[in-house]
Amino acid sequence: MSYQNLDSFRDPEVAKTLSGLIAESCQSPMRIMEVCGTHTVSIFRNGIRDMLPQDITLVSGPGCPVCVTDQKEIDDFIQLARKKNVILATFGDLMRVPGTQSSLQKQRAQGRKVKVVYSAFDALTLAAQNPKKKIVFCGVGFETTAPTVGACILEAHRQGLKNFFVYSAHKTVPPALDALMSMDTVIDGFMMPGHVSVIIGADAYLPLVEKFAIPCAIAGFEPNDILASILTLVQQKEAGESKLENTYSRAVSPEGNKKAREVMEQVFDKVDASWRGLGVIPGSGLSIREEFERFDASKAFELPPARSAAPKGCICGAILTGKKIPPQCPKYKIECTPTDPLGPCMVSSEGTCAAYYRYHGAITKVY
């Protein structure tokens, strides 16, 4: 059984009308950043660019969690996989991300116990099933994922599990957008990530809208969701307005998912975090609170200090800030491909470079 209203959000006739309205409304060049990697993929898959006037440029932002994971964090995951008695549990997208010297996939090939899980809850189950092993979960993700990991830490606490650990590399979106606006980027409007917004709520972006007077729209993932959000962004810009429009109100409320936010606040503290390509952003990371520190892998295991910068020649930073698109990277498709990636943007299914690699043939628009 499927959701009955979905068809309308995909209806090509409606899409045509929306794209006509966008063309009609758009009077001047506009750069819109889609913050979320899932939007990037949906824009390609649905051929959204071809439905837009030349004046509108869509650039991808820092919204693929694997892509913004710092090199030190990737290296730490690899170190953790090498520890005695450890089973490292991770989302599949992290497996092929190149660390300074290795990757989790290479570690697994060398006989380390690295297990791909679909949910942090699977890692918790592993811990209960393997009392003699230490299960370490790689906590990567934004506000959508952090509560799911937080809920697992609370459950591990309740069950009194002593062999479940989380390395928290979680990051939060609003501080990153604030940092992005303070850099020398040209962004005329933000398409906000649908599922991060489900948790934090639409109102979480109001300070950003106010501070930078920038048009913002929360969008769902169907083609007409995306087009409707672009339409409101264009209309705002042409009218000289800057508002927050919620075009995904069927899933996103003004206050978000209160329960999930409470879990997040109960388990994590806000800390400064280092983002790949963006640097350290104040208050944009989540570390495990003292009360639950026995589950904190960064404290339970000894890890070496940071040793290296991002891979040489990879321009992920410029890609993640919307300054460049992948075809402008000299390594793109030459030294960097999904099977032999140089940076995480080419690895993750939500990564901008991977999305371009997969769908670039479909782009007809000149940038």
Binding site: N5, F121, E155, S249, K259
Partner: protein, 76 residues
């Protein structure tokens, strides 16, 4: 990691929910969602239900889009 397609809840037992997504059933964790009921459509992320789809809001967005379309037809 995120299923953008809403799935229908067919059963809830404590924090364990069962969803039906186009004929495939799967168990999910309901710990992050208050007030979800059997029959609701939910968004699922990394094994957890994170949001109930609000049918009234969905219908309203569609009405809005339809109104826009009609207005543009009337003008054109």
């Amino acid at each position: 990691m995120c299923l953008a397609i809403p799935s229908k809840i067919v059963d809830i037992q404590g924090v364990v929910g069962t969803i039906d997504l186009e004929g495939v059933t799967r168990t999910i964790n309901m710990a992050l969602l208050e007030n979800a009921r059997v029959g609701d459509y939910v968004l699922v992320h990394a094994g957890f239900a994170i949001s109930v789809i609000d049918e009234a809001e969905a219908a309203q967005s569609l009405d809005l889009i339809r109104e826009l379309a009609e207005a543009s037809l009337a003008e054109g």
